[in-house]
């Protein structure tokens, strides 16, 4: 297949044109990293539905669009969501905006990646796999900026917000932020990410997350961009012994969302919790794809995902759990539940367990259904009008997913994101 057929041409041309001007262009290691990524991207282009991991999500609308670079200047006013905490890092069209951020007084280093590429060298590209994930290749080839944060050993980093705003310039544009998150031994952090904004854009972030021994990262994500946005994010997380990575994602807004998470539990007693709620209305597509590697003994993983689909929309859940031979006494659990609110909605659900150890507790389950008629009648028989009764049942379904979240600030923000989505559906109905 040629680059033109897979939609790679435009991005490759941009890389050729920009490569001497991209941040770090004078650093040979980074040039090499980008050049290698370009080779991978040229060879594969955007994945088509013939690729197993992309069987249910069609990137043709992304591959066919002609995106330009964002033009946003580095100053000027943008509409930001209300702050959840004193500390926040703000990115506009993928570029760090120190003037809009408030990072003073944080007990660790957090800065725009483009400003400190030398420090990032050992970590950038340590986890991402551009050879197997074309979107990671695209990101590596063209990233300009991102959040680089490093919480030292034993430090409780508290709460930090990561805000990503896309500003509509009136024509299609693409940005590919690269975020590096490192927690030292026994460090702690809650990172709450909000993606907002609009325009015909491609937001293609890649996260590389390292959680050292005994450290704990809670990562909440609210992907709430406008229904014109393609949001394709890829997260790579590596968790050392007794460390914990908790991810909770609400995907409710973009035209197309791919929430792809690769997590590896590499030390004994590491843990990973991946939960989320994804919602789509008419014409939208949401996809959660997780790949979990149990590569050490005595690790635990929990995954619970909820999907709500309205109108002519489509949802995808793919969850792979790979239990390596050494990973004895693995405790794995995966559940995904979908609620279809219309006859035209479609969900594709694919759990995949590969188990090579013999002493393992691993279970998975999936449910798909419409709103329960008995429950609906029960509410209506008490005088609750049909629309309100439906809303109560949808909210109950979604809120169940949030119950596992212990951080109150995060829980509140996630709940508001869920309620806002439902309120929009009701307003549109």
């Amino acid at each position: 297949m040629t680059a033109a057929q897979t939609g790679a041409t435009g991005f490759l041309a941009r890389y050729e044109g920009l490569k001497d001007h991209l941040p770090g262009a004078r650093k040979p290691w980074l040039n090499q990293l980008r050049a290698d990524a370009a080779v991978h991207f040229a060879a594969r282009g955007f994945p088509t539905r013939r690729v197993e991991q992309w069987k249910y999500t069609d990137l043709a609308p992304v591959a066919q669009a002609a995106f330009a670079e964002p033009l946003t200047s580095v100053d000027g006013q943008v509409h930001l969501p209300a702050p959840l905490a004193p500390h926040r890092a703000v990115f506009v069209d993928g570029r760090f905006r120190p003037d809009l951020s408030s990072l003073d007084g944080l007990p660790f280093r957090a800065l725009g990646l483009a400003h400190d590429l030398a420090e990032a060298e050992p970590h950038l590209g340590a986890l991402a796999k551009p050879e197997s994930e074309p979107l990671a290749a695209l990101n590596t080839m063209l990233f300009e900026d991102g959040l680089f944060l490093d919480v030292p050993d034993g430090v409780d980093g508290g709460l930090l917000e990561l805000v990503s705003v896309a500003v509509d310039p009136g024509r299609p544009f693409a940005f590919h932020p690269r975020h590096l998150v490192r927690l030292g031994a026994r460090a702690r952090l809650t990172l709450i990410e909000t993606a907002t904004g609009g325009g015909h854009c491609l937001h293609n972030p890649v996260f590389e997350i390292e959680v050292a021994e005994g450290a704990s990262l809670t990562h909440g994500r609210m992907l709430q961009e406008a229904a014109t946005v393609f949001h394709l994010s890829t997260i790579y997380a590596r968790v050392a012994a007794e460390g914990t990575y908790d991810n909770f994602t609400v995907a409710a807004g973009p035209r197309l969302t791919r929430n792809e998470i690769h997590a590896a539990l590499v030390g004994p007693k590491a843990a990973c919790h991946m939960n989320g709620a994804q919602m789509a209305a008419d014409g939208q597509h949401v996809d959660t794809t997780t790949a979990l590697d149990h590569a050490a003994p005595d690790c635990a993983s929990r995954q619970t995902y909820k999907t709500v689909l309205a109108g002519r929309s489509r949802g995808v859940f793919q969850g792979r759990i790979h239990v390596h031979r050494v990973a004895q006494r693995t405790d794995g659990y995966q559940m995904n539940q979908a609620l279809l609110l219309s006859e035209e909605a479609e969900i594709d659900s694919k759990p995949q367990l590969e188990i090579y150890a013999d002493d393992v507790k691993c279970s998975h389950g999936a449910t798909v259904g419409a709103l329960d008629a008995d429950s609906l009648f029960y509410l209506r028989s008490r005088g609750i009008p049909e629309a309100q009764a439906k809303a109560m049942l949808v909210e109950a379904f979604l809120h169940e997913a949030v119950e596992t979240v212990t951080d109150e600030t995060l829980k509140g923000a996630l709940t508001r994101a869920l309620d806002a989505w439902w309120a929009r559906q009701e307003a549109a109905a």
Binding site: Y378, S381, R382, I384, M392
Partner: protein
């Protein structure tokens, strides 16, 4: 008053109610007794408007409203209440939220002021005390993890809060021990008065020792085959449905 005339209904194309005639005057409590499969639950669902129960003939009016033409929530706001034989569990819907939403939806439909959270809690706690229910049942999901008796008490609590003018109690006694039965019966008796009527549907006479009806009707094969005073329930208990059927 509730007035049912020549009511016929089917489920999945099968005729279940074959011409029901029944009047429950204002302020009276009537019992409907009958063996399994006689159409008792179908009658309660038809009157409350559940989907899947198709009315093929006849009429049912309540205080002059043609209730068969109304949505379930409209029937509720007009004062009709169904206590379910199998109350539904609603995980993720808090019992307090559910009760308050229902109460306020009905108040709103009737043009009355809605209750705020504090007013509601005060009212709910008062009613719960009378039903020997712990406050903790307000915090849990609707009927989630409730025992059979707790679910039935939660039904009676809803009735006590919503103050219907007619309640249909569908086998509310099933699965209750004697203490729970007494609490449920006390809850119903506390509602009795000139503005409250009830249709108590039961298989056994036992409940009617505690909720003494003004009239008893025997439902068999989709028809009321016999009506009488409270003594009819005792008669049925002693002789069984077979004797009534033979006589009818």
């Amino acid at each position: 008053m509730l007035k049912i005339e020549g009511l016929t209904a089917e489920v999945d194309g099968k005729a279940i109610l074959k011409g029901i005639d029944l009047e429950v005057p204002k302020g009276e409590v009537h019992a409907i007794m009958g063996p399994n499969g006689s159409g008792k639950s179908t009658l309660s669902y038809v009157l409350s408007g559940r989907e899947g129960y198709e009315v093929t003939g006849g009429s049912a009016t309540f205080n002059g409203h043609d209730i068969l033409a109304m949505e379930p929530e409209e029937r509720a706001a007009a004062g009709l209440f169904l206590a379910f034989q199998y109350p539904v569990e609603l995980p993720g819907v808090g019992n307090a939220t559910f009760l308050r939403t229902a109460l306020n939806a009905q108040r709103k439909a009737r043009g009355e002021a809605e209750l705020d959270a504090m007013q509601f809690l005060k009212l709910a706690r008062e009613r719960m005390k009378a039903l020997s229910m712990s406050d903790d049942m307000l915090k849990r999901g609707v009927n989630v993890g409730f025992s059979g008796g707790e679910k039935k008490r939660n039904e009676i609590l809803q009735m006590a809060l919503l103050k219907p003018s007619i309640a249909i109690l569908d086998e509310t006694d099933s699965g209750l021990d004697i203490d729970a039965l007494r609490i449920v019966a006390d809850g119903v008796n506390a509602m009795r008065g000139p503005d409250f009527s009830a249709l108590v549907i039961t298989h056994y006479q036992r409940l009617l020792d505690y909720i003494v009806p003004d009239r008893v009707h025997v439902l068999m094969a989709g028809r009321i085959v016999k009506s009488g005073g409270p003594e009819l329930a005792k008669e049925l208990e002693a002789q069984g449905y077979g004797a009534v059927q033979a006589a009818a």
